[in-house]
């Protein structure tokens, strides 16, 4: 039973990834312009070359031939991919795509991941407290605040943070917060470097938390309220169990069930990061890299990043399935029914 489930899930996942790769392969090559033309345009613009000169110069920069038939390009690409090679970046010639991903992925994982953890923890704790003391001033104020936070899009928050806190109130200077890390610190495990990393990640993380915490709070609150109405809570109270034990062992664990699945699914979207937020804060993550690759028509890089994101989503969906089955015996996968 278990093995057939694992087999089915793996095959489905691989099929999905193949479909995504093929689809994006065709789509991104259908975009107007190609990487060579982008550079030709840049050369004409910057160095005032004629089109012919620019074309020759540009052709020397790439080992990519836009004239090759699409089907051959596809066969080449898939062949390499099956051997574990994502190819080389077209725009920054010579750099393997895998290296680029290795370089940018940690930044996104760090910033979006810590945003997700903070916002999930805050949401669960506050949501539970609000459900427990529902109708109180604390509950009303926080519900209003959560709706307000939920109502404003995250990139608006990002711009407001920069504009109001940075430019108008001068709480921080731009060099201290834009980008991934300061210019004058050396990479490695030393204190100034870590401090700089945290400092630069602060604004994106605040933005992510601000944009998502409202949703977690509201979901946790409604989930806790419905759990509080269950019979087994009443029984636990009747048995005279201490309040704290009821809250942690009976209410909390059950109320968190639906949130855990949502958390697992959200993990899949951590990898993609947020294109716009990383763009605004010039944060060197995968999302910003993807936007830049789209701008320069860097086919292989785009392809690689799409693949990584899709794998993460597929994987986290499987994880969510398994987790839900493990945590909630009522829906255990491959159960008796």
């Amino acid at each position: 039973m278990w093995r057939s489930y694992a087999f089915r899930v793996t095959v489905q996942g691989l099929l999905t990834l193949w479909a995504v790769t093929t689809f994006t392969f065709v789509m991104i090559r259908k975009m107007p312009g190609n990487p060579v033309e982008v550079v030709i345009d840049q050369l004409i613009d910057r160095q005032q070359l004629s089109y012919e000169e620019a074309r020759q110069q540009a052709a020397g920069l790439f080992d990519f031939d836009p004239g090759q038939p699409l089907i051959e390009q596809y066969a080449d690409y898939m062949n390499k991919l099956l051997h574990g090679d994502m190819g080389k970046s077209i725009s920054s010639a010579g750099t393997p795509v895998a290296n680029q991903i290795k370089r940018y992925l940690p930044w996104t994982l760090f910033s979006v991941g810590s945003g997700l953890i903070i916002s999930f923890t805050l949401g669960v704790l506050l949501g539970m407290a609000m459900a427990y003391w529902r109708g109180s001033v604390f509950d009303n104020v926080l519900t209003a605040a959560a709706s307000l936070m939920y109502g404003i899009p995250d990139f608006i928050i990002a711009l407001l943070l920069l504009l109001v806190a940075g430019v108008q109130l001068k709480l921080f200077s731009m060099e201290d917060v834009l980008g991934g890390v300061g210019q004058d610190v050396h990479a490695g495990l030393n204190l100034p470097y870590l401090k700089s990393v945290v400092q630069h990640a602060a604004l994106p993380v605040i933005t992510y938390v601000w944009g998502t915490v409202g949703g977690w709070i509201l979901t946790m609150k409604s989930s806790t309220i419905s759990t509080l109405g269950e019979d087994y809570i009443m029984v636990a109270k009747a048995r005279g169990l201490p309040e704290r034990r009821i809250l942690t062992a009976y209410v909390g664990r059950n109320a968190m069930l639906p949130l855990v699945t949502r958390l697992a699914i959200s993990i899949g979207f951590v990898v993609g990061g947020s294109v716009i937020i990383e763009f605004i804060f010039q944060y060197p993550g995968l999302g910003r890299q993807l936007a830049m690759a789209i701008g320069t028509r860097d086919y292989t890089t785009m392809q690689g990043i799409f693949l990584v994101i899709a794998s993460a989503v597929v994987f986290s969906n499987i994880l969510a399935d398994l987790l839900f089955g493990m945590l909630d015996p009522r829906v255990r996968v491959g159960g008796e029914e």
Partner: protein
Amino acid sequence: MNLGFGAAATLTGLLIGVLCSLPPLGLALKHRLYRPALLTLAACALGGFSAGLWGGALMLVLMSGVVISYAYVDREDPFTSRASIDEVDFSESNWEFSLRKMAALGRTVRASAHALVRNKAGFLGFLGLVFFFVMIVFGPLFIEYDGQPHYYDRLKPGAKTLFQGPSKEFPLGLDWQGRDVLSHIVYGGKNLIRTSVEAGLMTTVIAVVLGSMAGLLGGVVDQALSALSNFILTIPTFPLLVVLAGIITFDNHTYLALLFAALYWPTLMRAVRAQVFSLRERDYVQAAVALDLGLPHLIFREVLPNMISYIVVNMIFTIRGAMYALVGLVFLGMVPVQEPDWAVMIYIGRTRQVIFNARAASMLLSPIIAIALFQLSLVLFTRSLEEIFNPRLRRGL
């Protein structure tokens, strides 16, 4: 055809509105219903003023229903009679039938209005949306669009520099070309909001149609549609939107809305499918099937009313998501830029480095606050929509 939103107010429209208000107004006055009469006049005049013939006609029908529901209910309608069932005559003429239907429509309008006012947060959101509607429709009557650049030699009268902060003459300041920011705010919301609403509508229609198809037909159709939705959900949607936006050239914003709908329908479709699956097994639906009440009755009277609240609320969230995606696309410079537009104002703010210029804050802050307020109003408004469309929350008059 300018249906409601997007049309500019005209004086002819006001005349049409007043004309449209005459039939229900006369009826109301005949029955000495002064408060409904006043409401009728205001609603019809506003409807006609803001949206011309269509708005006027819509208000004419709705307000006639309201007035009829006050005047005729409990008197002509045999179904509400308190007499014994044997004494009631159930036959009715076409005229009586249409009167009864109009009264029912009017009661629905009144119940909705009550539900709208009852939820404070929802009503606040509604007022916010009305504010934007009024600004877009009536704003152009008072404020002229300032599209030409004004450089140093020909600044606007009263202006001192480019990038001027808010002042008495220019409440929201001047932008990078010395143009009045207020006029861009007034004129810049129309396209963005209309495209978002179109995208939301299309997404909802696609999701509901495909979702009910998968739920009702099951089998191969269900499997194929589910596989397709899983596939779309796996691809990172916003980057894909950016890629596709590059392929399609936009001379028309409706294409952009359609593109959004093509990528964002799966979430709602899955929910609708699950709902249809579960509703199919309910007793009252089974009873309706056993009574052989027909497919239209099944869909429109048994299944849809149970989902409509969820669908409408989701549509609002889709509109919000569409606006997010649209502004994001423009912000990254991935779609052709066309003034006036709130998103374009933010885009220019980014590309001209206005963001770091403390004096220029107004030209960037104004569209940001406008978008935030609009989205906040949308989210708050869903509270009222839940009360209006959820039969369990609705109370009698």
